[in-house]
Symmetry: C2
Subunit: 217 residues, 2 copies
DNA sequence: GAGAAAAATGAACGACGTTCAAAAAACCGG
DNA sequence: CCGGTTTTTTGAACGTCGTTCATTTTTCTC
């Protein structure tokens, strides 16, 4: 409903430029305040009145630039996804062995989750009201994560069809996510992080080794 | 409001028997009503006033038999865990190949999650207020699930130390959970269930095959 | 600069989990 | 059985939440 892309430089000529700039600025301040609130106390700590106070606006102003808090939470999630993608970016240099690269991604994912626990949690904890599906722009942000896994998989399994590899990338991502997710879960018996990382390595190495034995699917 | 039938025979012997029986009955009715509410509309659909209406008691009565709604949710979760454990019980007959048994458990887990999606989700969606740790009785209910995985793992890796196997059981459970969890996640691009099950099989088979190649850890 | 249009405001609304003074029920010695 | 005491149950009330909308303030147009 509210796509404001106008971040033009001149304010006097274009009608509504000042307003759009203020709206964009308010959006940014609200996302920043929301991210800080979630980072501090989880999704439960995201309160409309606190947000308004932190961003220096009225509570009603939130609803001028976002449909509702769910909308704001999705933007925070997109931010988190972008930072995660950035944190998993491949370092320069020659491409390592596929299994080593997969392991690097898995450990990077764990590292990110550990460092930004509350924000990372919010990615999966949050449910859209009424079971609505996530907007397309959010799904695209996610698919970039799976793509990071797909590249080393292609080198590991050159005979695998591309469609099958895409599924496999999501599966491997999901498996690593599961280990990290339940590993950091406070409702389960706690796990030392060093052990968790060793288990992650065992999962990725065993899975990668086993994959090369299975027939292509 | 509530008619209490006086049996007359047991009221004289046990002091407070009638009271504790009513409390136990109320607990059961509240858990049943809560489970129905969660099954219908997720954790968000669990409202104190609705619960009281469904169980035929005052809102305050909930707090006579539960600390708070978190407490009630944990009981619902324990119920769900018990039904899951029951659904994963090994069928009679000779023990199959370890990998096949692991696959059966994974598919059983997926089947349960699919059939009781909202209740299964509630197991992981729910966070205790203030980041409190889960009570011991709840952790014990969970550990029984990991134990189901440990048995076939012991046959698959007879040279693995028991402590390492316990970790591995939790890791494999977590990996399968991750695939099921993100597979059924509505905030991700949807996955057909048949494909999801095939991916689950690929994960378990590759992991089991790869494990036998890795050195014991 | 004045009048029209658009945006920002914050008090008000309904719903939520939880509490607690009061009412009801259970208990117990005579 | 009864009257006084204790325990349990009750539901109106409280504080907080996300969200709305009549009012005020700002921006735009001529």
């Amino acid at each position: 409903m509210n796509d404001v892309q106008k971040t033009g430089s001149d304010s006097a000529e274009r009608p509504g430029a000042k307003t759009s700039a203020r709206r964009a600025d308010l959006r940014a301040r609200l996302v920043a305040a929301g991210r800080a609130a979630v980072a501090e106390g989880g999704l439960q700590n995201l309160k409309a009145r606190d947000l308004a106070a932190a961003a220096g606006c009225a509570v009603g102003a939130i609803y001028n630039v976002f449909d509702d808090l769910d909308d704001l939470i999705l933007r925070i999630g997109a931010d988190t996804l972008a930072r995660l993608e950035q944190g998993l970016a491949a370092p320069p240099g020659p491409a390592p062995e596929p299994a080593e690269e997969l392991l690097r991604l898995a450990c990077g994912y764990f590292s990110f989750a550990r460092a930004d626990k509350a924000l990372w949690r919010a990615l999966f904890e949050h449910r859209l009201a009424g079971g609505r599906p996530a907007p397309a722009w959010y799904l695209e942000d996610q698919s970039r994560l799976f793509a990071l896994v797909e590249a080393p998989l292609a080198r590991l399994l050159p005979d695998e069809p591309a469609s099958s590899r895409a599924l496999l990338a999501r599966t491997l991502f999901s498996a690593v996510h599961g280990v990290v997710s339940l590993g950091l879960e406070e409702k389960l018996a706690p796990m030392p992080e060093a052990i968790l990382e060793a288990e992650l390595e065992r999962l990725v190495r065993a899975f990668a080794a086993g994959l090369t034995l299975l027939p292509p699917g």
